[in-house]
Amino acid sequence: MKGNELTMDKFKQVKTISILALIVFLFVLPGITSSPAVMYIMIWIFLYSLVCGTFRFVTMTGDWTFAHVGIMAVGAYTSMLLTMKLGWSVWPAMVTSSIIALAVGMVLYSLCLKTRAVTFFWVTWAFGEIIRQVFARFKHPFGGHIGISGIPGPTISIPGFIEIGFETQMSYYYLGLFLAVVIFLIMYLVERSRVGLTLKSIDVNWELSESLGVNVFGYRLLALAIGSFFVGIAGSFYAHWIHFLSPADFGIGFGILVLLYVVVGGHKTMWGPIIGVTIFIILSRLVLSRLEEYLMPVLGLILMLTLGLFREGLESVPRRIFPWIKATFTRTRKEA
């Protein structure tokens, strides 16, 4: 038993070191290659990781929401309105828009929380679609179907000391990396705490949790609220990075993509969405640049094969393969 604990400790050490190494690598990556194409793909990966990671956080209670992308649109559009119509600077607009996203999410989800499971999925789908239709219908503040362009980028300026304009992809890279690291760290801490365990208990058996005195409604709403707040930040980041918003960007296609990345990557741990997003975005960019018309079927086939082979997502691959490798190696050692 003692040896087993030792290997567990070692495993944890290796994991921590490799995570730190990954973060350091991501910080120095622009020094190695600062080509805009690489930066662009990396920013997409950060953005999608944020959206999928927060989505995965919400699903800890078993609530597979489809309005997540709609809430992200609320964050993006609020940020757009605050900076363009009211002339706010980007940073307060980012915070305010995520608070508004949180508020909209709370109102919307407290209506939906009567339902569970599949029904919850489709109610939130309807609400997300309603949000998107509102943005598409009202031309005056939101720009209608055509969308709205010319959203200002952020600047950091302390008068007389420092002045940074976000003109290159590299600056957005660091902003995205910063947001991703901070948000994932917060989500990790919440997930490890008592609150996180309570959230998971609701997924396993909500009736039992309720009978043990857990406020199921409150905890589900809490998870959804945290998810909405963070995805609001992600939406605001998206608006100020792309400088263009249209309701079509937040359609069902995007929602399905988020769901797909999370399920293919795996939803048991917070690494699943990151793995799914990284692999699929890099893959789709590589395939897209060569043969555009085969992109969707190839992605569909890869998706089906992955799910057929690894039902719990790509994150379960090491868990499945390591014992096999270990068995093989111990056998060879014995023979030798």
Binding site: G62, W64, L111, C112, K114, T115, R116, A117, V118, T119, F120, F121, W122, V123, A126, F127, E129, I130, Q133, V134, R137, I252, I256, L259, L260, V263, V264, H267, E293, Y294, M296, P297, L299, G300, L301, L303, M304, L307, G308, R311, E312
Partner: protein, 291 residues
């Protein structure tokens, strides 16, 4: 004008009902919301195009052949894609999304992406109460209604229909009575897909055909399934009429652009106040992949 709106609504509702009934039965037996159901409609329409334009068959024969073909396709899909994933609901959802992309690509490689039309089945118009309606549209209504009625009869009166209903109520109970769940799933998937294929053939005679025509339909079908109440044939038909008539009335007397918003609002309201749909029962858990 009113008669025209009513007739158009009737036609839309019947075709929606054909598509959605299959989806409801597949959901009832296999607990899978098959996103690729719209693609079966597309294959039905493409089959009609090939049988009628290339092979020069008549409409009735090509309806039968295309329906059987799509039904077989459904059974094959069930065996290859969904059977290994039985009981794993969430991965099956995502599998069926992957299937959408694959089938759409198959459709575009086999048939090409440009719009196609089949020749008018029945030329001429009829006058009903002062409304002028094309014969080819009026003709669809009895066919669609007859197919729906036949499926209802199949479910209520035949052995396999009873087995399907029993399975959708209680899987364990049904298998204790000697019903093979595998065979039931294949029959449900086959018959549901066949209905989708028939709907595709009927649609082919009134709209343009292209490999992406399933996308618009599948979301309507989902709305209908959830408004009506899953696993309920009557609820599905009622919901199909609600959606079909909403569409035809709103698009004539108001702005068609508002249709999605209204439908979503109806769906949200019904699911909040009656989570099980108009007729039907609520499913307690979205069974993710957990053993």
């Amino acid at each position: 004008m009113i008669v025209q709106v009513l007739a158009n609504g009737m036609m839309l509702s019947l075709i929606y009902a054909l598509v959605a009934i299959g989806l409801t039965m597949i959901y009832g037996v296999m607990h899978i919301l098959n996103w690729a159901h719209g693609e079966f409609v597309m294959f039905g329409a493409m089959g009609a195009f090939y049988l009628m334009v290339v092979s020069k068959l008549n409409f009735a024969l090509s309806l039968v052949v295309a329906t059987i073909f799509v039904g077989l396709l459904g059974v094959i899909t069930e065996r290859i894609v969904f059977k290994p994933m039985r009981g794993l609901h969430l991965p099956s959802y995502i599998m069926s999304i992957g299937l959408v992309y694959v089938l759409q690509a198959m459709g575009s490689f086999m048939f090409g992406v440009q719009d196609k039309m089949i020749p008018t089945v029945m030329p001429g118009v009829v006058k009903i109460f002062g409304a002028i309606l094309p014969k080819s549209r009026v003709m669809l209504m009895p066919i669609a209604a007859a197919l729906t009625a036949a499926y209802y009869f199949f479910l209520q009166r035949t052995r396999y229909g009873r087995a399907i209903r029993a399975t959708s109520m209680d899987e364990v109970g049904a298998s204790l009575q000697g019903i093979s769940i595998d065979r039931c799933a294949a029959i449900a998937m086959g018959s549901g897909s066949a209905l989708a294929g028939a709907a595709g053939v009927l649609l082919a005679s009134i709209v343009k055909i292209n490999p992406f025509m399933g996308e618009a339909l599948i979301f309507k079908a989902f709305i209908i399934v959830f408004v009506g109440g899953r696993m309920s044939l009557v609820g599905t038909i009622i919901a199909a009429f609600i959606v079909g008539y909403t569409e035809s009335i709103v698009s004539v007397y108001w702005d068609p652009a508002w249709i999605p918003m209204i439908e979503m609002a109806v769906l949200a309201a019904i699911l909040i106040f009656r989570p099980g749909g108009l007729v039907g029962i609520e499913v307690k858990k979205l069974g993710a992949a957990r053993e």
